[in-house]
């Protein structure tokens, strides 16, 4: 069994953190396994957890009446899941469901928030790691909005 600190070191987004910061973050993390179909997050829940996916895949869904659960994005190994814990009112925006057996490190975000308040350097380091994830997903989502595959020549 690998120590949680070693698992945290393998998270690509956390590369470059100091030893102290690794130890601190690892202190808020624990190993979790989700069965296929199991929910990691539910819309409206308190955002007191985020995940680093180690293996498997997770669907982010929005439930629409009469349409069911619509998958808006899927993520996989190496990805971070959940950023609502960073911004008030700390509420989860989407459902997240394991599409297969999924191993993840879950982090006690409420605990980390407190530590970030006390230690702005740590808070800034974490922001620098979450903002690129948010920016990349937003940019990709904007391209999807263009519906590029739907528009072709007319000859």
């Amino acid at each position: 069994m690998q120590r949680i600190e070693d698992l945290v070191r393998e998270v690509p987004a956390f590369a470059g953190l100091s030893e102290d910061q690794f130890a601190l973050i690892a202190g808020c993390g624990r190993n979790q396994v989700f069965e296929p179909g199991e929910q990691l997050m539910r819309e409206g829940d308190a955002a007191d957890v985020f995940y680093a996916i180690r293996s498997g895949s997770v669907a982010m869904e929005i439930f629409a009446p009469q349409r069911g659960a619509i998958t808006v994005e899927t993520i996989g190994p190496g990805d971070l899941l959940g950023w609502s814990w960073l911004v008030p009112p700390y509420r989860v925006h989407l459902d997240a469901r394991a599409m297969e057996e999924t191993h993840a490190i879950s982090f006690d975000a409420a605990c980390l928030r407190g530590k970030c308040e006390d230690d702005p350097a740590l808070g800034y380091e974490l922001m620098k790691r979450f903002v690129p994830v948010i920016v990349a997903r937003l940019a990709a989502t904007r391209v999807r909005l263009l519906d590029v595959y739907g528009h072709v020549g007319s000859a």
Partner: protein, 301 residues
């Protein structure tokens, strides 16, 4: 610029005896590249709601064999002619094209039934540089109908599988119903090709990936330092894919893109597909990104 001075300049530069009508003193006369060869539809498969694959066999003389990445001009008699990439390496002089019915000509081509006649000119343009990729990893990035021009490259890579390291096909489409050639993916996987797909959006119940095709690049197994990437899809998608490939460490010189422009003559004379000093029909459609990137950034082109 108005059209008139352009066409006058073309007429002057082409001269009274353009290359394709220059009489030859000896040997058989050169085939006229503007004259279509007659083909008959020998098989037809519906791929998507608006997309069909046609297999054509020559009635008399066959055109030269296509190389993966090249295109032909398909002529629906009395309707029009359109550039369509080869979508599979056919056997016995048969050629295979996958056509999306989006305009008058492509609709007429897609309406052709087995036995019906179509005109074919070709092969035209540059091909995917598969030989140059040998010894390294090969990443094929396709978006939407862009998988059709890449399928011959998949077939060629399978035929010469031992010449490459990892071979990955990363394919994105609008929705699960618009993924092409899905029935062949298992066979390709068994032949040593990693096949990963994603869609922009999916109805409830879809258990595959949802996300932009670029998201397949980071997790794919390849060594960027020795990877050749072949990219085909809408230009916006290719731009984002190229950026993601470079971010992963693939050299820009080893990223190849296939451009789609309004090809008419297909032999670099008419200028319809001109992109600054290049003709997509003759200098492309497959271009090294390095040679074309500055042009792609110019919106007026």
């Amino acid at each position: 610029m108005s059209a008139a001075p352009e066409s006058r300049a073309f007429a002057e530069s082409a001269g009274p005896a353009a290359a394709w009508v220059t009489p030859r003193v000896e040997g058989p006369p050169a085939p006229d590249p503007m004259l279509p060869s007659s083909y008959r539809v020998s098989a037809k498969t519906q791929e998507l709601a608006d997309t069909w694959t046609l297999e054509l066999e020559p009635e008399a003389g066959a055109i030269e064999a296509y190389a993966p990445g090249q295109f032909g001009m398909l002529y629906a008699f009395g309707v029009g002619e359109v550039p369509i990439s080869v979508s599979s390496l056919g056997a016995d002089e048969r050629i295979v094209h996958t056509v999306r019915a989006v305009g008058a000509t492509t609709k007429a081509i897609c309406a052709a039934e087995p036995g019906d006649r179509l005109g074919v000119r070709g092969p035209f343009g540059t091909d995917w540089p598969l030989a140059g990729a040998e010894g390294g990893d090969l990443v094929l990035l396709a978006g939407g109908i862009g998988l059709a021009p890449l399928r011959p490259a998949v077939e060629a890579a399978i035929a010469n599988r031992d010449r490459y390291g990892k071979v990955s096909l990363l394919y994105g489409a609008r929705s699960p119903e618009e993924l092409l050639f899905t029935e062949q993916f298992d066979l390709w996987r068994e032949s040593g090709i990693e096949v990963e797909t994603t869609v922009d959006g999916a109805p409830a119940g879809w258990d595959g990936r949802v996300g932009l095709v670029t998201t397949l690049i980071a997790p794919a197994e390849f060594d960027p330092a020795k990877t050749t990437a072949l990219v085909c899809g809408p230009e916006v998608m290719m731009r984002f894919c190229a950026a993601a490939l470079e971010e992963r460490g693939v050299e820009r010189e080893r990223i190849q893109v296939s451009l789609e422009r309004n090809m008419k003559c297909a032999i670099g004379h008419c200028g319809h597909c001109q992109l600054a000093h290049r003709f997509v029909c003759k200098d492309g459609p497959v271009f090294e990104l390095e040679r074309i990137q500055t042009l792609l950034g110019i919106r007026e082109l």
